[in-house]
């Protein structure tokens, strides 16, 4: 793991990887969406409105997965002083917040025709909104620590905030199981799925596609942060003469 703490070595792997992740991700998203819109049959109850699932589920997964990544990076930063972990956590924050917002928006659009309401304060929706607010707080703290010279990473306070905030992730997951909620119980578990196979496979494509695309965005963001570090280091050297 420490071999890749070296930014130069990381860039050597990340630079050729990013365009592959980016374009394969885009292709899977487009293919999966087209399959979801035109090939998957309409739902027996919801009709065509269920198709928003092909966007809603990947965004929910990446919103929650993004924060899990931020928390793991936080542990690596605090315990092992891993410099790239702090850069990675910073790179995840904005796309993670964006996907969480997309998840809330698509859920709301689906809720109106299905439940008969745009928004209700049930456990799942409330905990997901809390995740969006956590992201916004993280982005604010991360940009403050960048200004105070953390070499593109985040301050230790920001890392601790990321670890503490991770407690919301199992709450989101459990909200539909522990409490009576308006949102339905999970359709996909470790042992199977209650989504018919003809409707499930395009979801596999969009989830994989969005995940690869998310990884590409994070790598590009990390490269931009590292490049910025080098510029600043050079400017400091030049200023010293």
């Amino acid at each position: 793991m420490h071999a890749y703490a070296n930014p130069t070595r990381f860039l050597g792997v990340a630079r050729p990887l990013a365009p592959w992740l980016f374009w394969i991700g885009i292709a899977l998203i487009l293919g999966g969406s087209a399959a979801g819109l035109f090939l998957a049959p309409a739902d027996y109850l919801q009709g065509d409105s269920f198709r928003i699932l092909y966007i809603h589920v990947p965004t929910a997964w990446l919103g929650m997965g993004g924060w899990t990544g931020i928390a793991l990076c936080g542990v690596m930063q605090i315990v092992w002083r891993h410099p790239l972990a702090a850069v990675a956590a910073r790179a995840v924050a904005v796309p993670g917040a964006l996907f969480t917002a997309l998840c809330l928006a698509t859920g709301s659009i689906w809720g109106r025709p299905t439940w008969g309401t745009w928004w209700q304060w049930d456990g799942r929706m409330t905990s997901m909104l809390v995740l969006l607010f956590l992201y916004l707080g993280y982005i604010a703290l991360a940009s403050a620590s960048a200004k105070s010279g953390e070499q593109g990473g985040v301050s230790r306070v920001t890392a601790i905030y990321g670890i503490v905030g991770a407690i919301n992730i199992p709450i989101i997951k459990g909200s539909v199981v522990w409490w009576n909620s308006l949102h339905q119980a999970p359709s996909i578990g470790f042992s199977g799925s209650s989504i018919a196979p003809s409707m499930l496979w395009p979801l596999g494509l969009t989830v994989t596609g969005f995940t690869l695309w998310f990884m590409a965005i994070v790598i590009l963001q990390m490269r931009a942060i590292l490049a910025n570090n080098r510029i600043e280091a050079r400017l400091r050297r030049m200023a010293r003469g």
């Binding site: 315990v79 025709p113 439940w115 209700q120 909620s181 409707m199």
Partner: protein
Amino acid sequence: MKGKHQRLILVSVAIVALIGAVLLAMSALKDQAAYFYTPSEARAKAVAPGTAFRLGGMVVKGSVKRASDGINIRFEVSDGKGSLPVAYAGVTPDLFREGSGVVADGALRPDGTFEATEILAKHDENYMPRELEGMKYDEETHKIEQKPQ
């Protein structure tokens, strides 16, 4: 090496303490965080008439009676252990139907009928094409099967 181990132990202890605190909070929240009460929960809590709460459960098959004015509707909501009659005046969501989940916002009348001011349909976790309607998802085998008639 020493510093690294110290930090690892510190972070682990902090995370365990945090999880413990949240579990305590969650178990204390259990009742308050519920989005609705089921009929048997509402009965067990002896919610006073006129107190606003949400009632959730399944619409009992054959219980929906629409008045001739097309606005007033009455039905039974059941959770398998108990049921409550619900009265509502208004338009129900498209997915509201017998045998499906429902969440009603309102309060009990003194006569024990739940008077709803808002009706929401609760969708379940099953997604299937129209051709498969009438078939049932088996939770144990994870297969979609013909429902025994």
